[in-house]
Amino acid sequence: MAPPPLVTGISPKEGPPGTKITIRGENLGVKANDLIGVQICGGDCSFEWQSRNKIIARTGINGTKGKGDVIVTSLSGGAGTSTVQFRTYTEMIGPLKESAVWVEESPVQSLAWGRRTMAPSGYSQEDPLGLSIEGNEKKFPDDLREIFPEHSGDLSRENFSPCWFLLENHHATSFDDLKAGYSFLKRKVEGQKEGQLSFLKTHVSAVIDQLDTLMNLKTKMEIEGEIDLAKRVNNLQGTIEKSIESSHELFDDVLSRREKADKARAALSVLNRYKFLFCLPTNIEKNASKNEFDIIVNDYARAKNLYGKSEIPLIQKVLAEVDEIILEIRRKLHQKIQEMPQGVEQQKRFVKSLINLEIQQVGTIQSEKLKIVDPAWGAIESRARYIEQTFKNTYEEFQERENSMKDNSKRDLNAPPIRVLFCEEITEIATGQFPDLWRLGQSYFTGELRGINEPKPGNFKQIILNAIERFCSYVRAAILPQNQKFQAVASWAFTSSSQLQQFSTWLPTCLRYLRVSYASLIRLDLPGEALDIVLKLIDELRLFCLTTILKRAIDKVKKLHEKETWELTVPEFPGATALPSKLEEILVEVLDEGQQICLMMEVRENPLFDTPNSEGHREVAKIVETILSCFSNVVEELATERSDDEVQHMPKQLIGFPTNSSLLPHSINLTEAKSTISSTITITWEHRLLCCLANSAYCNKTFINSLGNLFVKFGYPIPKLALENSRTIVNNVFSNLLEIYVEHKSDPLVSTIEPSMYIVSHFKWNRVEKFDNLSPYTHECLDNVVSVYSEIFAVSPFLLRPILEQIIQTIAEELARLMSCVEEFNVIGKKQATLDIRMIRDVLRVYSNERAKASFNEALESIPKLANDENREVENLLAIIKQQMKLQLMCLTVLNP
């Protein structure tokens, strides 16, 4: 439990009931609803929590008079204490005191209820002895009171008793002081006596006049004697009577005039007193036109309080008029509440004013005329409607703008497309408007805006969800491709692919807008369900954005063949060019961008690839597969494209040694290479074909697998299946190219064997005459194989085996065929044939596969069997020739070149 509240300061420290007091201290409640009570002088107060150190309170009417504690009670700290005390005093409204409040004439009310607080009247009464009564507040025994029953110390009372007065007011005054007081009193009385004398003094001339008249009268009467006395007396009587009469007349006149004046004055004062009420109707209207509804509420409350129970018909009539106006005001407020756009605070004020007026009007006839069920709910609904309408309008407006743009194609291509502007606008609206709606809802549910009626059981959450749903579907319609999964509220299709193309580069911008707006919604503390709607859209957009970024790689890869330089730059795989690393560069670029924009998660976002086999996985795999198959196509295309020259020039080349085997050394300095390529030497087609073969072999063996690491590095899942599939494709490319090359090389090679065996020197196997060397065809065949070997070796030794095996197999098959066709061998022919075939077989053994070996044997078997000495002869010669050709043929014997 927190420490109890402690009040250490009050401002002001005294006042009549209804005084507004600022209370300060410690632990006065941790928040507004922690503060549950303020008691001053034992009476409950209305209060307003300001901070844990400050409260504003207004004293109630039920507290005791005099000094009392200020007790603050909070939920967290319980009832507290105070070091200061408040003094409540009653303000008497005397006839001389101006009061802002009408006080009923019969029983004089003691409660002052008004806007003004006044100086305490207690101090204005002077002590008759001229002494201070300070220090006399101490109590004295109550039994003293009994000695003076029914006596009063009040000077103005009939039962005033001097003794009691002294006891009551001066029981603690020293004797000296009393003595001084006594002389003070005496002087005062004397002063009053003096007053009579001074009256005479000031009117001395009138007194003298009167004396003179009396003297004159006396002498006149003495002179005229008794003559006509009676007549004179009569006359005199008549005159006196007349003057009495006229004086009466005069008096009556004055009286009646005075009476009129009094009446007028009374009427004026009534008017003055009721001025507030009489002016109220006009004031209300004036304030209403200025939107000052708070003042209206206050004034109305005041009028109700002051005059509500009055039975004076005039007042009732005015009140009824006021009520009628208030009814109008309520109507007007109800309208204003639903008017949009307007700030929440204003809307809340309107709602509060309306509720207030409604509550105060309860019980009047007018109250029945207008029933507004839960105006706050109406405010929420109209705000929600307004938001949805704003979304709709914005959506339509931008759609319209895009349509009108279509005609003039002069639009700057670098300017953001209309949809991007729309995205910016609508996310801004969402960021600006949702908090208002949410705040309004919050106020509604905390009860701040609740009226007399029970809150409408409307589903605020659903309203929020709907509004957000609406927002998301417009964004979705504008920037995401149509998707059957979502029943589209609106559709805004792209009219051309170039439009789509241009737009897609702006997707990251749209994503940013949406994220900003999402972040602001998160700050609002909306229910998770509502946030999830936006989250879903963001996830979709992220994925879509990612796929568009990755797809950009496809286009780039398609153009890769322009980038091939035929430099052999892969040290670990001779023959492979820079092409695969170019592919890698492209991939790195898009993967990196994709990671930056889409993969990286911002607040309250999910990883794109959290579940295996998610849509994200599939999309990425699909694109990766496309990219790699495009790459395979590029490789294949590069291999097969050749100019017409090359086609014509090709077959001749086979004979003899290849043109330039040292054409491209394995490690070329880049600049040198470039200049070489672009200027003089053109690379032969075979050479390019071999490079492509090497590239596809390299891709299959290492490169594609190594791409997996790239994905890991940038936080993507490895698209295993896609990579595997691509390897298959690359493999196919390899086989195709291999076939082309093998065909290209072996066809001329093999087809020359037969002509050079027979046609060159009209050779017949049954008419062979000398046996001292290999036949020319054998020489030629071996030379040709070596030249192919060197061509391949110059580019990539890796390719030797796959290519040579194929070629040698066809050679072996051709020899078998040729031998089987020989009808007859003479003895020398037998030996010569055996020598030739065995030479070829032995030399090509390293690159002979099983079928080649079988064919060689088949060829040998077609030759009639040699005798032992013949066989030895052949072997001797074979050894000698091998020795002679050792250098030339050595390359073919190396197992792993």
Partner: protein, 204 residues
């Protein structure tokens, strides 16, 4: 009566009264001293009461501050408030010469009510953070303090809190030493004297 007050019966209570024209910063000084807060807006005071425990030279005491109205219309009730005071902070604003002139009147009223030339009293020149708008030269302030029998003169700022604690604590120290002096003397004579003096004033 609350517990709090009972428990602090032992601690000495020093009653301080803030006097001075309206708007010079009496309330601001009080609130700064009491709650470490500075109030920007000006709301005229009527009579505010504050009381809290403080430690004065190692000893726990209670300070009771009566923050009064500077306005003329309350002049009539000031007498009553002044009577209860044991020490006075007579505040003016160094940016307002009129408020400085008014201190003379306040001083006289206090002396008349308390009938004591040596009543604990500090002349306080507030708003010293607004030195660039100063209207009352420092020398003039010091001269006046001198003329009043050498009362201390301190410049404060309720805004920056400069010297705020100082004036309250200095005043409490004076009140405390006055009390110890008084209790050593027999007090009856002085009391009688003061009453008579007061009476004369009423007659004048």
């Amino acid at each position: 009566m609350s517990k709090k007050v009972n428990s602090s019966v032992g601690a000495a209570l020093h009653k301080v009264i803030m006097v001075g024209s309206g708007g010079v910063g009496k309330s601001a000084l009080t609130l700064q001293f009491m709650y470490d807060e500075f109030v920007e807006d000006y709301e005229p005071t009527k009579a505010d009461s504050y009381r809290k425990k403080v430690v004065l030279d190692g000893e726990e005491v209670q300070i009771d501050i009566l923050d009064t109205a500077g306005q003329e219309d309350y002049a009539a009730i000031r007498d009553n408030y002044f009577r209860s005071g044991e020490g006075f902070l007579c505040v003016f604003s160094i940016t307002d010469d009129e408020s400085f002139q008014a201190t003379q009147e306040f001083r006289e009223q206090i002396l008349r009510v308390k009938n004591d030339e040596n009543i604990p009293f500090l002349l306080v020149g507030n708003k010293c953070d607004l030195n660039d708008k100063r209207k009352v030269p420092l020398s003039e302030c010091q001269l006046r303090a001198q003329q009043w029998g050498g009362v201390p003169y301190v410049e404060t700022s309720a805004k920056t809190r400069e010297n705020v604690d100082k004036v309250f604590f200095d005043l409490m120290r004076e009140i405390r030493s006055r009390k110890t002096e008084d209790s050593s003397k027999s007090s009856s004579r002085t009391k009688d004297k003061s009453k008579r003096r007061k009476l004369k004033c009423t007659l004048l």
